[in-house]
């Protein structure tokens, strides 16, 4: 492209008279520069928007930090913004945000990567055409509809049948993984021995470990079944729903990453006799690791910035659960606090109560900005590596 334009430029320096008169050409060039400038100005609008967002959120967040300082905000769990002597300890709220985000990632990352691998390497192209719309629809459903589902359908279900649901989930995940683990272990152990004891050892391992795993699963399932969940609106509920919401992002970005790993790598691995699973786990996934990491970061951003689901279904209790990893307790997140408290703080514009919400928004903004830069850099570097 560059050489081509150069050629044209050379060309018309040689024969200016053939094209246009001098003044007409100048006018045209002026118009081109002006037009270019205008287009650039319009395009820069998004830069301006980002700048203004940072500026205005920071402008309203600053008074809070000036007046109340950082220490209480980040270290205390006492959140009493409307008390006579208000306290703005947001640690529990930060913790709530982190907790539901972490839970959502726990749900979305394994499922999302498995689905992406399946889409790019396992199922045939014709079938993919039917799966893509499913992902797109999951991404398109408005967050308030997810929130409504979490509050009206999922929360009562959890409250009434939560223990049984958890037990069933443990069985569905635990049984196949236990079977696989036992098969692999028996195989590995069997290989070490000589032929005579091999099958004996193998069966011995299968029987011992198998019964152990069964008993373990039964005990866990029983104790989970007996679990009584006090309130269906809790961190667990929100984490599951947020996980489903983050799935489309993770699937599509990591599928792109998997696709960009070339055919040659895969074919080389197959030629060496690796199965498909071995090829993907040992060759494709490591090669696509940075793209998948970017996908996970984008998923985190989606989950932490989500408002409606957590506002409706997280219980909105500003507390760190007891014990801290107990996901079956209600929590409160940054986004939900902003959405819920602004209605009351709106009338008292200028108070600490108003500015503290901007301080939270500023933290969210900075976090998402950093995540975004990180994911961009990772993707760009991966692209350079793939290109070079």
């Amino acid at each position: 492209m560059d050489t081509k334009t150069q050629n044209i430029a050379l060309h018309d320096r040689d024969m200016p008279s053939l094209l246009l008169s001098h003044s007409a050409r100048r006018r045209q060039r002026l118009a081109a520069v002006l037009g270019n400038g205008l287009l650039l100005a319009v395009t820069s609008f998004s830069m301006l928007a980002v700048l203004f967002i940072f500026l205005f959120i920071a402008r309203d967040a600053l008074p809070f930090f000036q007046h109340d300082g950082l220490r209480e905000f980040f270290t205390s769990t006492r959140w009493y913004p409307s008390a006579g002597n208000p306290e703005f300890g947001a640690l529990a709220i930060f913790f709530g945000s982190a907790m539901v985000t972490f839970g959502a990632i726990l749900v979305a990352v394994p499922l999302g990567i498995a689905a992406a691998v399946c889409l790019s390497d396992v199922i045939p192209f014709a079938l993919r055409q039917f799966v893509k719309p499913v992902i797109e629809m999951l991404a398109a459903i408005p967050s308030v509809a997810y929130g409504f589902f979490a509050l009206v359908v999922f929360a009562p279900l959890l409250q009434q049948q939560g223990g049984h649901l958890l037990a069933v989930a443990v069985w569905i995940i635990g049984l196949p993984s236990a079977v696989l683990a036992i098969i692999v272990l028996s195989d590995v152990a069997g290989d070490r021995l000589n032929d005579r004891f091999q099958s004996l050892a193998r069966w011995g391992i299968i029987i011992v470990l198998g019964s152990g795993a069964l008993v373990g699963l039964m005990v866990i399932g029983k104790s989970l079944s007996a679990l009584r969940i006090a309130s269906g609106t809790n961190a667990f509920n929100v984490a599951i729903i947020l996980g489903i919401m983050a799935l489309p992002t993770i699937v599509s970005v990591s599928e792109d990453a998997l696709q960009s790993v070339g055919r040659e790598l895969r074919e080389g691995s197959y030629a060496l006799g690796a199965t498909r699973a071995e090829t993907i786990v040992k060759i494709v996934l490591p090669a696509a690791a940075s793209g998948i990491l970017a996908a996970v970061i984008l998923g985190v951003m989606r989950a932490i910035g989500e408002t409606m689901v957590v506002w409706m279904a997280s219980g909105n209790a500003s507390q760190i659960p007891q014990p801290w990893y107990n996901m079956l307790e209600p929590v409160r997140t940054l986004t939900a606090t902003i959405a819920g408290d602004m209605g009351e703080a709106d009338q008292v514009t200028g108070s600490s109560r108003y500015h503290v919400l901007f301080a939270m928004a500023f933290c969210l903004l900075v976090f998402s900005f950093v995540c975004n830069l990180a994911s961009e850099r990772i993707i760009r570097r991966a692209r350079q590596k793939a290109g070079g």
Binding site: G35, L40, V42, T43, S46, M47, V50, I53, F56, P110, L111, G112, A114, A115, V117, C118, L119, I123, E136, M137, L138, A140, I141, P142, S143, V144, A145, G147, F148, F149, V152, L180, I183, D187, V188, D191, I244, R276, A277, E278, L298, M301, I304, G305, T307, M308, W311, M312, T335, I338, A339, M342, T349, F358, A361, L364, L365, S368, F369, N372
Partner: protein
């Protein structure tokens, strides 16, 4: 490892992938099923005579004579109830004070429960609130209220470890031996004659205003508000997004400035939606003062900012998908760059751009957080076009939240909530399906 084991592991691996895709599909089905099934019940349900009376009185729908005849039949069927109560009240007046004290509170409760089932008793003063002027409109709600008449809820707090335990006590037992005792059996057996249930298609749910904080009527103000917000956001975002996409694909050279610009666009895409809401409040309303308080205009501007990156990216992709040969042919015919863009590239990229526009519009229609502080109110009249510059509006997304969590009688208006959700989800999904369809045609077109 054994070859057999490796094969098993391979199968299990593929299986886990298929499992997660199936799980995703199942999640979609589980999510949509209740909305589809129960959402319909806002429009197509078993309506009672009270519903027909409301339609006649408020909207002048239905045949006045037939409805009047039905109302009379219902009144006739209800008459024995009120006769029994009147007889009992007369008896109480003459009996000793102790009995009167004993029966007065349960009787009051009974009358209240009957009121909420059947509406005000004949001859009573017309209540102020609209929700008190009519009995139950829907048969399913009427059955719930019937239980309230037949049984009294009692809470047992004797065991402190388990919280309150609910039990139902039949009211008939409380009134044993009084003239009211047969009322309960009569009510249970003749409820259909008192309410005359009939399957009704209430499609006007989509076009009616709501009354008395959504206890009655439809969701037209919400639909209109969402329409204004989404279209307004597109009006601002499309020119900006399109020009930015054209510039980035056709004009910009990869300088440092453009690199920063691209980073800004992706940053804008990553800003949490609630932060957009706060920004809209702090900038459009408190600083620019586009309106004195919340307004559709401020909401549309905020939403426009939010969907701008999506729009830019989609349009960029669509423009890049146009084959190079188109552009080169136009340039070789002597067209200028702007001319080429306007007459060759944009028409070829138009379906792809439309796809992006349609998807962003769905996103703008469904988003709640940015409009909480900038545009949304929970109850309002449908706005005329010139009011969008100064007035806030109800919107589908906001009202789903509001009615499901902050309404005074969340359970009584479940059908309205589901109706709102179905409308919003259907709107967004139809837009997205249109986009999928458009894209399928585009790829065929550009290939062939």
């Amino acid at each position: 490892m054994n070859l057999k084991t490796r094969k098993i592991l391979d199968r299990a691996f593929a299986g886990s992938g298929v499992f997660s895709i199936l799980l995703m599909t199942a999640a979609l089905v589980v999510l949509l099923a209740p909305m589809l099934i129960r959402g319909w019940s806002a429009i197509y349900f078993v309506a009672t005579v009270e519903h027909r009376q409301l339609m006649l009185e408020r909207f002048e729908r239905g045949n006045p004579e037939r409805v009047a005849a039905e109302i009379n039949a219902a009144i006739a069927a209800r008459a024995p109830l009120y006769r029994m109560i009147a007889a009992f009240e007369k008896q109480l007046e003459t009996c000793d004070p102790e009995n009167r004290k004993r029966y007065a509170p349960p009787l009051r409760e009974l009358k209240k429960a009957l009121h909420s089932l059947l509406g005000p008793a004949p001859g009573a003063i017309r209540p102020m609130l609209m929700r008190d002027q009519y009995g139950q409109m829907r048969w399913d709600r009427a059955l719930v209220k019937l239980r309230n008449v037949l049984y009294r809820e009692a809470w047992d707090y004797s065991d402190p470890t388990r919280g309150g335990i609910k039990s139902l006590k039949p009211r008939a037992a409380e009134f044993a031996g009084t003239p009211v005792e047969p009322l309960f059996a009569y009510l249970e057996n003749n409820l259909d004659k008192m309410l005359l249930p009939r399957r009704t298609l209430y499609w006007q749910f989509l076009t009616d205003n709501s009354f008395d904080s959504h206890f009655f009527g439809g969701i037209w103000p919400e639909i209109l508000g969402t329409f204004y917000l989404a279209v307004g956001a597109m009006l601002f975002a499309i020119p900006l997004g399109l020009i930015a996409a054209i510039y980035l694909t056709e004009y910009a050279r990869e300088t440092r400035l453009i690199g920063i610009l691209r980073t800004c666009i992706s940053t804008l895409a990553g800003v949490p939606s609630i932060v957009f809401g706060l920004f809209g409040l702090a900038f459009f309303i408190n600083t620019l003062k586009v309106s004195s308080s919340k307004s559709v205009l401020a909401g549309a501007l905020t939403l426009a900012l939010m969907i701008l990156p999506t729009l830019i990216r989609a349009s960029e992709e669509a423009i890049r998908a146009v084959p190079h040969t188109y552009k080169e042919a136009a340039l070789s015919l002597g067209a200028g760059r702007w001319h080429t863009v306007m007459s060759v590239i944009l028409p070829a990229a138009l379906p792809g751009i439309l796809t992006g526009i349609v998807i962003s519009m769905g996103r703008a229609a469904g988003e709640t957080a940015p409009i909480i502080f900038t545009a949304a109110v929970s109850v309002g009249k449908p706005l005329a076009l010139w009011q969008v510059f100064s007035q806030p509006t109800p919107a589908l997304s906001w009202n789903i939240y509001n009615l499901a969590t902050e309404h005074e009688a969340v359970d009584a208006i479940r059908h309205v909530q589901y109706g709102l959700v179905l409308t919003l989800v259907a709107l967004v999904l139809v837009l997205n399906l249109a986009a999928i369809f458009l894209r399928a045609r585009v790829s065929k077109h550009l290939k062939g």
